[in-house]
């Protein structure tokens, strides 16, 4: 009995009218935890009831505390009939269980109903008294901290990184139980919400246990997913990285501390001058491992098929690096081999953690779903994932790496076919960080590979490469070999040297497929998959070259299955790594050189491509240093040098090689060119001032403002033409994505210059009708079941998008600067917090000036509303000084928010940090699941209106929870799941959304200098006035 949960219901406001006669409501509240329920008194005839209940106390196991949510139901008392439910609030009390997180939950929560949405708000106070339980065999894992953030959280430091933890829980989906035939949609939705909440609680507890077993105290990069497998059940699975985190003492912001406790370990041998060739480390010859799933489906081992990335190895060359490397490898391997899966879900690492990066490894497998018979023993699902992870591991080995970083797993389900995918980046890690790494090799490897380029160096053996690739000497240190291109799933390491700016690169692909059932379908899909991956890869490669870049970060390939098509979408951020060689150009190889007109066509195409590359170079500011001269004296073998010298003329060679390696056919080349030209034209027409990337930070841009906006955008398209060709589909799909980006740019045009970071595209191809039918049959007796879909519904979801407002470097021209100023004004005025720091004088100046101009703007707006002209405004505009205006504005703003405490502004961002701020405290993980259903779709503004309000409601609930925990921001926010089903004929729609993130408290960097916030407004305005005059 180690916990006492206390809850108090304080008040409600804005309740809906439940009694039509009096236009009022007699509300009371039920508070439920586990099987215990308490009730408040009925507060009669009010829309703003004040219950002020006593403390409701629940005495419960901490196991329950972790699993169960606190369930608050607001009802309308009815004397004669059953009480009507107004709505519910689920409060996850997990954050209260950790001593370092929040201590109390207190605040206004939106009352949510799955049919009506948000209906008023309720003020609740929740506390937990926890008694420590030191029982070794306990089932709970209170106190283990969870972070969605895929890097070491800002106010902690990693003492140890233990490694991969995973867990999976299955259950029957209440939506498909027999009881769903008789209960109301509301009851069924609530059962589902509750079940999922329970399951994710259980999952967290189990993972927490594993972490404790490993000796850790936190899970970083916690990634939880739902697989709605329909009739075969509901799977909730999670992966993460177990760590031991130490809290940093606030104030001392040493990010990099520490690791090896024991510098004089026997293994830290002084570098031997022996030139030993690697023995144990040489990777085993890679054999395409074929996974056979239950139904003859194959996972594609893409690495064997596609040249994922260029590589090479330089073990034999480095003077001392060779033996050291070997040692290192042995060490790390021994450290990691004890682990089943040396995987890390992190994408951002402490400096020195990553030693080398091999490349992207991924595995997919196609499975047929069947009913989960015994929910307590989810062996099949476990086995499936096990297989995939094994494969990933072996891929990593083939690349000469012992670990996989930036690891993630996903599924896509279409009827009974399920594709499981896992991907990550093979890497060599510094063993200092592992537990066993306390057996640590403490030597100065970093000398061998300078930090800014070390991670680019190949980890595998040059003579034993798993695939053909070109190797050159590192352009940075000139000592080790680097591949010509590098693909990774992680974020750009902070220490990496980058030339120019980065940009978002996407490959999009559509493949038609015959409609089929069961096994046949699965086979067809698994046969298509390798080709899709190959083509996506080619597209990425070409687009990368077109942008004149040589590395991809944050690569995410998503393949989704529809009934008669497969969609592939790969997004990544391209950058030019200074350490890697300059990419060559692209050349078109024609098949029929005899044809003159064709030749001409080809040559014009070629010219356009070359022009584009040149323009992109300008656009992304890529001016690779001409490093040829200095080469002369450097200890590079002749062979290599000659290669280097050829770097400018090399393009043609490389192209031919590229062509060879792809074994191009004529049509293919043209198609590629078409796609290239398209993207080229679009990117060129892109308005200046917009940057986009899908990683956390935009490479090459460092001046962030604190103005930050997060958006979610969802789009659904219907294809009217059922028999489209592959190419037609491709074109349409590409257009969709481009258009989406375009419309984002348009919407955000007022924020220019800005950067869209962490752009995360998700696509799905749902079989609308089928899902509909299944969902609604229980409520509909007529068996008009299989309405064959005449239309294919392509659903392009684009979620989790964070917009940053950024300054282009201060070296930009005047006009640009002007723009940026406007921006800063915008962001500051919206925050009501002057953020500009006096250190960056030029920028600041402008921002002040601009703030004045925004005030003037505001004034003008006001003046617009004024008819007869009030004394106040006229006088102030006459004087032309911003001061009185400020005052009047502040007066007005105070007037405008009369009702007690104003709502706390909660920022949300998919990034793990907020620019120009400091995260002071992590308050706990936010993991929420909502269902919304409507039976009056048209009245709610159609599908768009329905989804719009639902997403807004989800945001509101997330914000309310964070505010109640005492936080003011959500970082690493992500919308994991957004399943939308509709049936316009029946006027119905249903949507499921799962969101997660970390609640934090942040302070602005400028706040730390103790300026009384009230006065600042006036002060800055005076400075601004001075600045303008």
């Amino acid at each position: 009995m180690p916990g006492k949960l206390k809850a108090k219901i304080v008040a409600g406001r804005h309740l809906p009218v439940m009694d039509r006669a009096s236009d009022l409501t007699d509300a009371f509240v039920e508070v439920k935890f586990g099987n215990t329920t308490f009730k408040t008194d009925v507060y009669p005839k009010s829309l703003n009831p004040q219950w002020n209940s006593e403390w409701f106390k629940f005495e419960v196991d901490d196991e329950d505390l972790q699993d169960e949510p606190l369930q608050i139901t607001v009802l309308d008392h009815d004397t004669y009939s059953a009480n009507d439910a107004i709505g519910k609030v689920y409060i996850d009390i997990d954050p209260l269980l950790s001593s370092e997180a929040a201590t109390v939950i207190s605040g206004w929560f939106p009352i949510y109903d799955t049919i009506h949405g948000i209906r008023g708000e309720i003020n609740v106070l929740v506390k937990v008294d926890l008694f420590n339980d030191l029982n070794r065999f306990r089932q709970s894992s209170c106190g283990v901290k969870f972070f969605c953030t895929t890097s070491i959280p800002r106010c902690y430091r990693a003492a140890l990184v233990h490694g991969f933890v995973e867990e999976l829980v299955v259950n029957e989906d209440p939506e498909y139980q027999w009881i769903d035939r008789i209960r109301t949609p509301r009851a069924s939705n609530e059962a589902r919400q509750r079940l999922i909440s329970l399951m994710s609680g259980e999952l967290q507890r189990k993972i927490g246990l594993k972490v404790l077993e490993m000796g850790g105290n936190a899970v970083v990069g916690y990634l939880q997913c739902f697989d709605l497998e329909g009739e075969s059940g509901l799977v909730v699975r999670a992966i993460g990285t177990a760590c031991t985190l130490d809290k940093l003492i606030p104030g001392s912001e040493i990010k990099e501390p520490v690791f090896s406790e024991d510098p004089t370990h026997p293994l830290s041998v002084p570098p031997t001058p022996l030139r030993t060739l690697p023995s144990s480390s040489s990777p085993p010859p890679f054999s395409p491992s074929k996974l056979c799933s239950r139904q003859s489906s194959s996972s594609d081992t893409d690495l064997s098929l596609t040249p994922k990335m260029g590589m090479g190895s330089g073990i034999s060359v480095g003077k001392e690096a060779g033996p050291l490397k070997t040692l290192l490898r042995q060490q790390a391997q021994s450290a990691l081999e004890q682990r089943e899966f040396p995987f890390f879900t992190l994408t951002c690492f402490p400096p020195g953690f990553l030693v080398h990066i091999g490349g992207v490894v991924s595995a997919r497998s196609v499975k047929l779903l069947d009913r989960i018979h015994n929910p307590d023993e989810p062996e099949t699902r476990d086995a499936w994932w096990e297989e995939i992870r094994q494969e990933i591991k072996s891929h990593a080995k083939a690349l000469g790496c012992h670990a996989v970083v930036g690891y993630s797993e996903s599924t896509t389900i279409c009827e009974e076919v399920c594709i499981l995918s896992a991907s990550g980046t093979a890497a060599m890690l510094n063993p200092r960080f592992m537990r066993e790494g306390s057996v640590c090799v403490y030597s100065r490897f970093d000398d061998a590979s300078p930090p800014s380029c070390g991670f680019c160096h190949i980890p595998y053996d040059e003579f034993n490469m798993p695939f053909p690739a070109q190797l050159t000497y590192c352009y940075h240190c000139r000592r080790q070999k680097v591949p010509d291109v590098l693909f990774t799933t992680i974020d750009l390491p902070a220490e990496a040297a980058v030339t120019g700016k980065g940009c978002l690169i996407q490959a999009r692909l559509c493949r038609t497929k015959k409609k089929a059932q069961g096994e046949v379908n699965a086979t067809a899909i698994s046969n298509l998959l390798p080709f899709m991956e190959y083509e996506l890869h080619t597209q990425l490669m070409n687009k990368l070259k077109l942008r004149c870049m040589n590395a991809l970060f944050g690569l995410r390939i998503q393949i989704s299955v529809g009934e008669n098509m497969l969609l592939g979408l790969a997004s990544a951020t391209g950058v030019y790594l200074s350490a890697l060689p300059a990419p060559g150009g692209i050349q078109i190889a024609g098949k029929t050189p005899s044809d003159l007109s064709y030749d001409q066509h080809i040559s014009t195409m070629q010219k356009r491509i070359n022009d584009t590359i040149a323009m992109n170079k300008e656009l992304y500011n890529i001016h690779p240093p001409e490093c040829i001269e200095e080469v002369v004296g450097s200890p590079i073998p002749d062979r290599q040098r000659s290669r280097l010298f050829r770097s400018t003329s090399e393009s043609s060679d490389e192209l031919s090689e590229l062509d060879l390696s792809h074994g191009k056919k004529d049509a293919f080349v043209l198609e590629v060119c078409y796609a290239l030209l398209r993207c080229l034209s679009i990117y060129l027409s892109l308005s200046p001032g917009f940057y986009s990337c899908n990683t956390e930070v935009m490479p090459g841009i460092y001046n962030w403002t604190s103005g930050l906006q997060m958006f979610t955008s969802v789009r659904v398209y219907r294809l009217n033409n059922a028999n489209l060709t592959n190419q037609g589909l491709n074109k349409i799909f590409t257009d969709l994505c481009e258009n989406l980006l375009k419309s984002l740019y348009f919407k955000l045009r007022s924020m220019i210059p800005c950067c869209l970071c962490h752009l995360n595209f998700t696509v799905a191809v749902p079989e609308e009708e089928l899902i509909q039918v299944r969902r609604h049959t229980p409520k509909n007796t007529s068996p008009i079941l299989f309405i064959f879909p005449i239309n294919i519904l392509v659903r392009v979801k684009e979620i989790k998008l964070c917009v940053f407002v950024c300054f282009p470097g201060s070296g930009e021209n005047e006009e640009q600067l002007q723009f940026s100023m406007e921006l800063c004004g915008e962001s500051t005025s919206s925050n009501n917090q002057p953020t500009a720091k006096p250190s960056v004088s030029s920028v600041d100046y402008g921002s002040f000036a601009d703030r004045c101009s925004t005030w003037l703007e505001l004034l003008r707006l006001k003046a617009h509303t004024i008819r007869r002209g009030s004394v106040k405004t006229t006088s102030s505009s006459e004087r032309c000084s911003p001061l009185p205006e400020v005052r009047s504005r502040s007066l007005r703003s105070t007037r405008s928010l009369p009702c007690g405490a104003p709502v706390t502004v909660v920022k949300m961002t998919p990034l793990s940090f907020l620019p120009r701020t400091r995260i002071v405290k992590y308050l706990g993980i936010i993991n929420m699941f909502f269902i919304r259903e409507t039976t009056s779709l048209r009245e709610e503004g159609g599908v768009s209106g329905f989804l719009h309000s639902f997403i807004a409601e989800v945001f509101a609930m997330v914000r309310a929870h964070v505010a109640a925990l005492g936080g003011n921001a959500v970082v690493s926010y992500s919308m994991k799941e957004c399943v939308f089903m509709e049936n316009p004929n029946k006027n119905q729609a249903q949507c499921l959304i799962n969101v997660s993130g970390d609640a934090v408290i942040f302070v602005r960097e400028s706040d730390q200098e103790a300026i009384p916030p009230l006065i600042t407004c006036g002060q800055t305005s005076t400075t601004g006035a001075d600045g303008t005059t």
Partner: protein
């Protein structure tokens, strides 16, 4: 098959046509180049107007759902104005195109439509909250920066004075609401916008009607409006409550602002709150007792001696100061009688309602007939009022001052001043002229297109 069309209107002004022509060619290029999967027909109809009509036909794929939600609700205030003006999405897109929105960020019509739809949807969802502005600050659903909230509210409650003029003094009931389409036709304001404005009036009226204390402050407290806007609303509420007749032909020359000014005067002189701010009652109603006491003023015209004395005093003061002195001397008795009779009649509700029309008929028109200038009227009224104080036997000074305070200042108001001049030259309904011709033309075109297709 889905057929969409878009109309681009080059602005008829000659200097701008050149620019627009460029825009148009640019637009066409954008159309044909960047919108995929669509066939475009370019046709020029009604060459007289030189309008391009682009038909967008045969979409291969249609957007089913398009949603864009931000954590902080972003609102484009220009689009907000279009929404408030009651435009449909397609009309709003047209207006934005004309304003050159397409030139920003290389947008195409599709993008613009999607953006407009999103914005309109956002506003529609916020509308519920705008009905009780105090809620907007405390609600959790939308995170809107405080200064945006102020603008949202202020703009939502703003109204067209042309429209307000039409509704002024009418009962804010369902019946009036049904007549809104007539007003819409007459004023050129869209029906949707009319409805919003009407509902705003009604909402404010309902909330404030029963409240105690100063009217303007009540409105400000409950609707968070700026001072000026609150004053205008106070006028509307006051007129709606007392139901003053304002629709008569003879009163057409008076604008909303004129009446609003008068309302302000009435509130500050003739209501209970005017005399005693601590009184329990409110500003909305005229003080019954005061209106009854106005009867006592009759003595000024009934008592022959007093009237003569009054005349002598006024004449003495005005001699040589006004041009129309002669006429004034002749007409003094008539004018005085008119004003005093007006006062004594105000016990009846009917006569209260006709206050303005009576004032115009009995006093202003005779003056205008005699070609008085505004300054002269002002001077006359000042001395007329003051002279009564010197009458030894006249005992109702307080009432007299309250009464004449309104009459005097109403006449003095700079706006009335203008309208007195205006009345000589302008047609009785100056408001109609504000109907913008482009709207008509667009409607015409639309109907034409619909017929064609």
């Amino acid at each position: 098959m889905q057929i969409r069309y878009a109309v681009f209107t080059p602005i008829l002004c000659r200097t701008q046509r050149f620019n627009c022509a460029i825009n148009n060619t640019r637009l066409q290029m954008l159309f044909t180049q960047t919108v995929p999967g669509a066939i475009y027909l370019l046709a020029t109809v009604s060459p007289r107007l030189d309008r391009y009509i682009t038909l967008v036909k045969a979409y291969k794929m249609s957007m089913e759902l398009d949603v864009f939600v931000g954590n902080t609700t972003i609102m484009d205030m220009e689009v907000y104005q279009l929404w408030l003006d009651g435009l449909t999405v397609s009309d709003a897109v047209k207006v934005r195109m004309d304003e050159g929105a397409l030139l920003e960020c290389e947008a195409n019509p599709e993008v613009l439509t999607s953006d407009t739809m999103d914005q309109f949807r956002t506003f529609q969802m916020c509308e519920r909250l705008l009905h009780s502005p105090t809620k907007l600050g405390s609600q959790l659903l939308y995170q809107i920066p405080a200064q945006n909230q102020i603008i949202l509210i202020e703009r939502y409650y703003e109204f067209d004075s042309v429209f307000a003029r039409e509704v002024l003094g009418k009962k804010l009931s369902k019946g009036t609401k049904k007549d809104l389409d007539d007003i819409s036709c007459k004023t050129g304001i869209t029906l949707k916008s009319c409805r919003r404005q009407f509902d705003n009036f009604k909402r404010v009226f309902k909330v404030v009607e029963e409240l105690k204390g100063p009217l303007v402050e009540n409105i400000q407290r409950h609707f968070l409006l700026s001072d000026t806007l609150a004053r205008d609303y106070a006028a509307i509420v006051f007129f709606a409550n007392s139901r003053f007749e304002t629709g008569k032909r003879k009163l057409q020359y008076l604008s909303f602002q004129d009446f609003a000014f008068c309302a302000g005067q009435l509130i500050s002189y003739w209501t209970i709150g005017a005399m005693d701010s601590m009184m329990e009652d409110m500003d909305v109603d005229l003080e019954k007792e005061f209106l009854n006491e106005l009867k006592d003023l009759k003595v000024l015209v009934n008592d022959k001696d007093m009237m003569d004395q009054h005349k002598i005093l006024v004449c003495a003061a005005l001699r040589g100061k006004i041009k129309v002195y002669k006429l004034m001397e002749v007409n003094f008795k008539n004018l005085s009688r008119a004003l005093v009779n007006l006062a004594s009649k105000l016990t009846h509700t009917k006569d209260v309602r006709d206050l303005f029309i009576d004032l115009v008929e009995k006093f202003i028109e005779p003056c205008r007939y005699d070609r008085w200038t505004v300054a002269e009227i002002t001077l006359f009224l000042t001395h007329y009022t003051n002279a009564a104080h010197c009458l030894g036997t006249f005992r109702h000074q307080m009432i007299w001052d309250r009464y004449m305070g309104v009459i005097k200042s109403s006449q003095c108001s700079p706006l009335l001043h203008l309208s007195l001049i205006k009345v000589n030259y302008l047609s009785p309904t100056p408001s109609i002229s504000s109907v913008s011709p482009p709207v008509n033309i667009l409607n015409e075109l639309n109907t034409f297109l619909i017929c064609k297709l």
